[in-house]
Amino acid sequence: MSEWTIEVDRGACLGTGMCTSIAPDHFRLDGGTSTPVKSPVDPDDAVVDAAESCPMEAILVRSADGAVLAPQP
């Protein structure tokens, strides 16, 4: 299965803890801001949910071909 990449814009991140609560396997807080636990990852809806729930839209999820899966504009 093709993997997804996760990027977090740590300049935009406010450390709300949304993503770490929604997808604790994929995000952790490090020094007050979020960082992906690893990337790329196997597809997991929780990653998309986390990106869609971030108030700062600081999480970018891409498919293997580079298409943006989340957040939707």
Binding site: T16, G17, M18
Partner: protein, 394 residues
Amino acid sequence: METRSYPFAELDQLEINPTYFELQRDEPVARVRLPYGGEGWLATRYEDVKTVLADARFSRAAVMEPGADVPRTLPTMPTDTNILSMDPPDHTRLRKLVAKAFTARRTEQLRERAQGIVDGLLDAMEEQGPPANLVEALAMPLPITIICEMLGVPIEDRDQFRAWSEGAVAITAFTPEEIMAAGQALRGYIAGLVERKRAEPADDMLSVLIAARDNEDRLSEPELVSFGVTLLVAGHETTANQIGNFVFHLLRRPDRLAELRSDPSLLPAAIEELLRFTALGGSAGFPRIATAEVELSGVTIKPGEAVFVNNVTANRDPSVFANPHELDFHREHNPHIMFGHGAHHCIGAPLARMELQVAIGTLLKRFPRLSLDGDVTFKRGRLIRGPQALPVRW
């Protein structure tokens, strides 16, 4: 270990009961007994509070389990299915239906509208005063207008739902029967609105939620109604009271006020610091239930035990904030948790920030000699603290 009665006595004028700070220093996870449902724990330190709010081993949904007898301030257990008492992934399912409308980017697009509302309100205030009651002139109408427009709630119903909302956020300000009746009245009101919008959808958030229910079955009817109630109440009670609280704090601190007036570029940092500093939350709401054994500051929380947190004291934790009891607009790092932390982090945080910036910034610019006009009386016995009325002159 001593078991203390909780909530602690509420002090006037946004002061914080000193017991909180004694506990934070000496007994950061303290045993407390609530009026109903027995005993639980109270966490007051920043890191512990964040753990309780964000760690999956602490559940909000467990509060709703049949037969649960959770420590609480009201005689009956809550029964309605509410986003505030859900855990991921259920909570995520509801939240993401509206999360897009509340992002910082989308909220920024409402700034111009908020500015127009504030300008109109302050025009009216200037015409009819001085003096004026800032709660009715600015603090209440701004967030009510914005959330009504976002949700699609008719603004002309506001006197009606404001009275119910006052009841819904009460702890001891009304009788338990009155508080429950207010909640039922709000649900009945939103349910009626949902029926009307089902027949005539509009470009608003309630219509989006109705479509998500009717076309995609993404939430139940009770969830839809409760979500509408929560967005309406949380969408205005918090910001409205904070506008009053912030103005109260500023007008009583001439040095800080002068500093902000002389350098308006401080406004965003000043709003963040006022968010950190202001004791908005009353107490004893929204306990979490441990689903596993967890150690917090050396205390073992057992599965099934309830933990209360206090964001206000967490925001004054000296291990995170230097000189925590000082209002300081020049903090380089201000990771306050006034909006909570984790899955339940306030969905309206960007909206609240924007409204507070526009309201406070415009007020100070328009009225360079604004001052308090007599004593300020604060509401008591509620989840959310704020002035009953805020008499000002200029």
